[in-house]
């Protein structure tokens, strides 16, 4: 299962619009997507409450893991892009 560590870029942290974008994309992925702090239990990236409960702030590092599928790598790339972009403004 491909995974990558990414730094939260949005100045407000991973909530509001940045979280909504991630959750929509994760729900649309068609395979399980997990997100969590490195070394801690990961949560379902398609769950708003679980993602919010990570309490991820600007500059925090999170690991995204995408379930095996033929386009897992490209799904991972697009999810990493969402988290590593500043969406505030």
């Amino acid at each position: 299962m491909p995974s990558q560590v990414v730094t939260v870029a949005s100045t407000v942290g991973l909530h509001a619009r940045p979280a909504a974008l991630l959750i929509k994309a994760a729900a649309a992925a068609g395979v399980p997507v997990k997100i969590g702090r490195v070394g801690e239990p990961a949560v379902n990236a398609a769950s708003m409450l679980s993602v919010l409960a990570l309490g991820a702030k600007h500059g925090d590092e999170l690991e995204i893991t995408v379930g095996d599928s033929s386009d897992a790598e490209s799904i991972l790339t697009s999810l990493v892009e969402i988290v590593s972009t500043n969406h505030d403004g």
């Binding site: 769950s47 708003m48 409450l49 919010l52 409960a53 697009s78 892009e81 969402i82 972009t85 969406h87």
Partner: protein, 546 residues
Amino acid sequence: MSLSGIGVSPGIAVGPVRRVTRVRLNEPVPASPRAVFKALDVVAADLERRAESADIDVARDVLSAQAMIARDPALVEAIGARLLDDIEYPDVRPDIADAFAGFKEALASLGGYFAERVADLDEIGDRLLAVLSGKAEEELTLDEPSIVVAEDLTPADTAALDLNFARALVVAKGGPTSHTAIVARGLGIPAIVGCDGIMDLADGTIIMVDGREGTVIVGPTDGEVQARETREDSLRARAASVVGPGRLADRTPITLLANAGNAQDAVAAATVGAEGIGLFRTELLFLDRRDEPTVDEQVELYRSVFEAMAGRRVVVRTLDAGSDKPVPFINAIHEENPALGVRGWRLTRTADDVLNRQLDAIALASREVNVDVWVMAPMIDIPAEAAEFAHRARERGLRRVGVMVETPAAAILADKVLAEVDFASLGTNDLTQYVMAADRLDSRLSDLTSSWHPAVLRTIKMAASGAEALGRPIGVCGEAAANPQMAAILVGLGVSSLSMAPIALSGVRVYLAQVDRATCVRAAEQVLAVSSADEAEGIAYDLLGF
């Protein structure tokens, strides 16, 4: 007796108090797990529907976030874990409260924005129980003209209320930028926020609301009502006495335009007498998309805005994706420094066809409506980019071609950049952050990101001089245009059109009508000579007045 708060939407209203309180169910709610999940689905679908029909961006964002919580698989799982058997439970309230509690605790412990989401969970829980008990719709019905009084109004509340019956809104909490304030101004009804004691009034109590002063009078006399109405009318008359196209006291015309992202904004702009749209942001259709919108979809949006502004000017800005407004299918590569990366017109380097298709769509839509279409590209840095954009636009029959001046390079070389095009528009938000090299979204740097800084004003002067030498019109479409004193300074620097949020337009129009060109020029010369933003702003207020 009177109460006071912060007036956030001017006007006088008199009527009976109608208190909006959340329904608290005091009786058992029997249900099967299946019925609970079905009700949760109803709540989510309802929130999604309201999000879609919400007129206000803030409301839409909050409502869709709430819908996502109602559809959250983790929430469904938590409820399912407590209602294991496929039976009719005599009362599901404790189980549902228990399922929500874990999430509430987790969010509350994080503080700040996260803790505020606890209120969303409470609201979803209340709605869920209301649907299950069949009491969903009666909670917020207004059946006669009333003054809506509440602790606070959430976007979901205001979407549910039939606000046609609301004469005014008064809430105990909230600030000038709260949802209540935004909704009231949108409806054009008086509103007061932060009004302590308002919830102590009984339903039906007749009150008068002065939304300009922030005062509530309980049981007003006819004389009191008349006095306040007269004062309000005269204040309004003064504002309304200045109508028509923008001009200075010496009758120098200054074109006053509005910013818009869709047809609704354009209608709002027409209502306040905007002479056109000075900034049509086209990226709204592109944001949050996995695929590029088709040419047909684009034509439909552009045409809807053109139709709302038929016969007038619409300045269309081509896609300004990147940096703080990423578009998933275009901005796929990680950039270390997106504000200085591939954004605006620079997208032609990575997604050339997207920009070409957008120009095709703009050209197509412009042929279908009788409207004066101008087109401009964002993030133009150098003359060669301006020339390339002008070539592509003119090739498609678009006649009025311009550029945004928002980088120091474009301002410094304005006499070369503008030689390639017909007009320019200063994007003062980005120009300020690039001149000052300070991220405008970083609150720690807010003292460095004022458009009043003489470094910014001198850069604007440079661009305006370049435009003047070539006889090209130059306008402003950043937030700076909405501040009346700044608007006068910009005019003094050589700007001939101002584009702003529709709500700011009449204030700027009234203000400009009382200053003449010579005063603007003199004030502009003085602000260019100081060394701080505070000094510049102080001088502008001293010389130009309030």
